[in-house]
């Protein structure tokens, strides 16, 4: 006889909500990248609306978690699962916020010619997107290996970020007319870099959920490559 049927049902519901929120976040990133590349202000506007839906999802899941904690006294794996859900919804919501922030800039820049062809930013966006997808996948499958892969790939995103910043600084130094859009592009790069960080956090929480150990995995992976380049490099 399987016991605690109603609690298990509550946990299943929670899992399903997280999956749905995850797919909304993924959709938001996909649209963000497309809108940025194509300078599609209309799509960017939809991302902003979608962000409210994701925010509401976060609140809904948060409430479910609190309710399960208050009423079901979760312990051991159950407690980790609910704590993990509470933590990763914040990261997912922040990822969606970053998407929305990029969408806002996209709207502002629409109709203006880009100061440079966008090559590295879409590349970085793709990497960030893959990290987010993998992190959500790792959660769904409770796959530690995949979660660790996410954490390990944060370095590549960081490296691209540094490169983009250097390029933009040089561009703005040479042509002050590019400053306005240069700063916007810098922000976009920063938002993408933060997406990678949040995906890394999700990966770390997945590992915690499975093993009970919560380490800063990204720190372990990029210990040897810690390097902050100066602007005039």
């Amino acid at each position: 006889m399987v016991l605690r049927h109603s609690f298990d049902q509550g946990l299943d519901d929670l899992h399903l909500d997280l999956l749905n929120m995850g797919s909304l976040v993924e959709e938001s990133i996909d649209n963000t990248i497309y809108a940025l590349k194509k300078q599609d202000a209309e799509l960017a506007g939809k991302i902003l609306v979608n962000d409210d839906v994701i925010d509401d999802f976060e609140k809904k899941i948060e409430k479910k978690c609190m309710n399960l904690i208050a009423r079901q006294q979760p312990l051991a794996k159950d407690l980790r699962t609910i704590s993990t859900a509470l933590k990763i919804i914040t990261d997912m919501e922040r990822i969606a916020d970053a998407s929305a922030d990029i969408a806002e800039i996209t709207i502002r820049m629409s109709g203006k010619k880009y100061i440079k062809p966008l090559i590295d930013i879409p590349k970085m966006a793709e990497l960030a997107k893959i990290m987010v997808k993998k992190s959500i996948d790792a959660y769904v499958k409770q796959d530690i290996k995949l979660a660790e892969e996410v954490c390990a790939s944060d370095d590549a995103v960081d490296a691209l970020f540094n490169k983009i910043i250097l390029d933009l600084v040089n561009l703005m130094k040479n042509d002050p007319g590019t400053v306005e859009q240069g700063i916007d592009l810098m922000f976009i790069a920063k938002y993408l870099e933060r997406m990678g960080d949040h995906a890394t956090n999700i990966g770390e929480w997945v590992v915690f959920n499975v093993t009970g150990e919560h380490d800063h995995l990204a720190r372990l992976f990029h210990k040897e490559s810690a390097h902050v380049p100066p602007y005039d490099e």
């Binding site: 006889m1 016991l3 605690r4 049927h5 109603s6 609690f7 309710n67 208050a70 009423r71 006294q73």
Partner: protein, 251 residues
């Protein structure tokens, strides 16, 4: 929103000079689990017993106010045998009769006039199935009920109540004498039973109230301090006394 099954209106109960229930007015919804919590002596068990007039036989008890079951006052002219058929009760300690498992369950239906062997067999099987006990006892229905474990005995008592087809089941700390696994089995059972029955449970175990009930009433000194959705009571109680009790600050 479910239908209202029981409504009490300014219910007062005195044990001689002791005012044990004070102006209790509460609506209990049909096919829901309502939990009554509160410290010892707060009146929760007394209140439960007023719902099928189990206090009637206690010397010195005086009751004022109304208890309406489906709109009819059970303290008016009301057939008590009929009342206790409609409102069954499960007690803290399992109390099977010293007879076979089969006869324990068939006892109520027999009293209410069911004679056909076939009908009784059907009732016994259905009741035991509803109480999630059938698979464990189907091969020893003729054996004494006293040979069952505590948890099984309690489920037998629940089956015995279900056999007379009640509408409301009152449970007075039904798991306090049971181990955690048996407790969880009874809790899961309640979840299933509420599809058909209105359940009111007194429990000293607040966590249990949190796990199983739809609504919770917090009793203190014979009064209801707060009655609300269990989710509200356990996450954001309105009264500081409720908060203090459920967080273990007093009680």
């Amino acid at each position: 929103m479910n239908m209202q099954k029981i409504h009490t209106n300014k219910l007062n109960l005195f044990y001689t000079d002791v005012h044990a229930l004070k102006e209790i007015s509460i609506d209990i919804e049909e096919k829901q689990v309502t939990a009554l919590i509160g410290p010892s002596g707060c009146g929760k068990s007394t209140f439960l017993k007023t719902l099928n007039r189990m206090n009637d036989l206690i010397a010195g008890v005086k009751i004022t106010g109304d208890v309406l079951l489906d709109g009819l006052n059970i303290y008016g002219p009301y057939d008590i045998v009929e009342l206790r058929k409609r409102v069954g009760m499960v007690f803290q300690k399992p109390n099977p009769f010293p007879m076979s498992i089969f006869d324990n369950i068939a006892y109520g239906p027999r009293i209410h006039g069911v004679k056909s062997r076939e009908k009784l067999e059907e009732l016994v099987e259905n009741s035991l199935r509803s109480a999630a006990l059938w698979d464990e006892v189907k091969d020893r229905l003729k054996k004494s009920a006293l040979g069952l474990s505590g948890g099984q005995q309690q489920r037998l008592c629940i089956a015995r109540v279900l056999a007379v087809n009640p509408e409301v089941v009152l449970m007075d700390e039904p798991t306090s004498a049971l181990d955690p696994i048996s407790t969880m089995k009874i809790e899961d059972l309640m979840e299933e039973l509420k599809e058909k029955y209105t359940i009111i449970i007194v429990t000293h175990n607040m966590q249990q109230a949190g796990r199983i009930s739809d609504k919770t009433a917090f009793f203190l000194h014979g009064e209801i301090v707060e009655f609300n959705q269990t989710e509200k009571i356990f996450s954001k109680p309105a009264d500081k006394r409720t908060e203090d009790y459920i967080t273990g600050r007093f009680g």
